[in-house]
Amino acid sequence: MTAAGAVAASGEREDTSCFQCHSAQVQEFAKSVHYDRNISCTDCHGGDPHISGAAVSVSAMSTNFTGAPARINITETCSKCHSEVTGVYKESIHWKELEKGVTIAATCTDCHGVHGILPSTNPNSSANLENVPVLCAGCHENQTKMSAWYYGIKTDRFDTYKKSYHYKALLSGGKGLATCTDCHENHNTRNESDPGSAIYAANLASTCGKSGCHPGNSAVIYGGKVHEGQSVQLLSIDTKALVTYFYIAMILFELVFTLGLVGLDITSKFDIRRRR
């Protein structure tokens, strides 16, 4: 598309009657991938696309107008064009919970946005690989949101992920490192106990073994814990706690000892002069 064409195209759409009354949505929409693909408000909302800006009228929202979809129906809006993805999504725990009435479970627009949807390769997209941890954390690290669903749900997922090499290296500028969706799938997100889940113990070998990650390591990870960490018992004591206690003591000792001696040495340098 030439620059002139782009201007003409956007001018045309900004002239739609929706703009006069919903400029906020239109402006957000103008940055989105859908706008770039010549999709207009009416593809999602219905209404009469032919009513021009000159004739500002609420009748723009008449012909086949569907309004804003309810949360449970958002998938219907998107599936018109993204039927495949929607089909996959409908296998996920997010959809199954949503269907059951857990309104906080994630739907398309929670992860992608509503009007300003960007391609996931765009670094500003909320579904961009680097932004995914923050995106998921928005719910999975949010105690009030999640415990409204059921008490005892794990809300430490981002915290535990933060301690992993994957996240540390990702933040430090490493490339190709696993984030939430690499292990939990973009759309087919499932429970750990679901045999179809990417994190079902028997499936971990293939999940971790994706090409570019840890290929050719079949079955070795079986039963490994990623978030909680694998506990190792030594004489029925948690070894990790043991190591931690040991090093807390060692470091406190080192600090007191080293700083103490340095302090003593510095002060004694003044003493020497007095003594002699």
Binding site: S172, I221, S231, T267, S268
Partner: protein
């Protein structure tokens, strides 16, 4: 005037030491940014070596150098005529107590150390065990999925725990303790490069060894290769020395602050997760 120079390190030892400390500094420099990826200095340090992949490469190569020089050191000493003056001795306890008394002003006598002071022995074995811990755990972490063929994931996670803690402990000991004792306290100590120390330092730091050598010392005795006799080198300008010491002190304080900050962080985190 003639100045006696006492042989402290063989060329072999000096090369070992230089390889060990350059690899140590590089390892710390490329390791800690990964441990604290959120900090401003982390990004800065990683950029300074040309990005994340270079960081990883440098960490791994320096790790191999450290493992290599440590293994070489052990093998060399097994093949060489065994020597025991580096081992701990009950006298070291007295020396330690004497040093504390002296520093506090309860005694006007310095402990009379032999070739190795009690503290140098601590540092030697600390560095030795540190290198063993870092080497073994580092190798496990290098190819975790290979390692998982032989060990459960939990063992690798414990290796990681040791690696992280020991890195802090070793760096505290080296960057604060060792730097103060051997370099700032004995400024300008170039024995790591020249291999010799001055008569004054021998008398002050290793009086027992000094007396032993001087007891059998006869100038011109061809059997005696220690001490070396050298003519007095022209003393460096006081201005330059003072400036160098000021510079070194500033660097020392900066690194110490950094180390104390790191220790504080890891202690707080460990206490929060394991004790509170």
């Amino acid at each position: 005037m003639v100045e006696l120079k006492f042989k402290r390190f063989t060329l072999n030892q000096r090369i070992e030491h230089i390889l060990f400390f350059t690899s140590f500094i590089l390892l710390a420099y490329t390791g800690f940014p990964l441990k604290f990826p959120d900090e401003w200095w982390s990004r800065w340090m990683i950029e300074s070596v040309g990005g994340f992949d270079n960081r990883t490469l440098i960490h791994h190569i320096s790790g191999l150098v450290m493992i290599g020089v440590s293994a070489y050191h052990v093998i060399y000493h097994i093949l060489e005529k065994p020597r025991f003056d580096i081992l701990f001795h009950p006298k070291d306890i007295n020396d330690f107590l004497q040093q504390v008394k002296y520093s506090l002003g309860f005694s006007s006598e310095h402990p009379k150390a032999g070739r190795y002071t009690w503290k140098q022995k601590f540092e030697y074995f600390g560095a030795g065990f540190g290198a063993v811990i870092m080497g073994f755990t580092g190798i496990l972490m290098w190819h975790p999925f290979e390692a998982m063929r032989y060990f459960p994931l939990g063992v690798i996670q414990i290796a990681n725990l040791f690696h992280t803690w020991e890195a802090v402990l070793a760096s505290l000991a080296i960057f604060i303790g060792h730097f103060y004792d051997e370099h700032l306290g004995k400024f300008l100590n170039m024995s790591w490069l020249t291999g010799t120390v001055s008569e004054e330092e021998m008398r002050h730091e290793h009086p027992a060894e000094y007396e032993g050598i001087m007891g059998s010392y006869a100038p011109g005795n061809p059997e005696m290769n220690v001490p070396e006799v050298r003519s007095n080198s022209s003393a460096g300008s006081i201005m330059i020395m003072g400036f160098a010491k000021l510079l070194f002190t500033i660097v020392f304080l900066a690194i110490s602050t950094w180390m104390l900050w790191i220790s504080y962080q890891v202690l707080v985190e460990a206490v929060n997760t394991y004790i509170l």
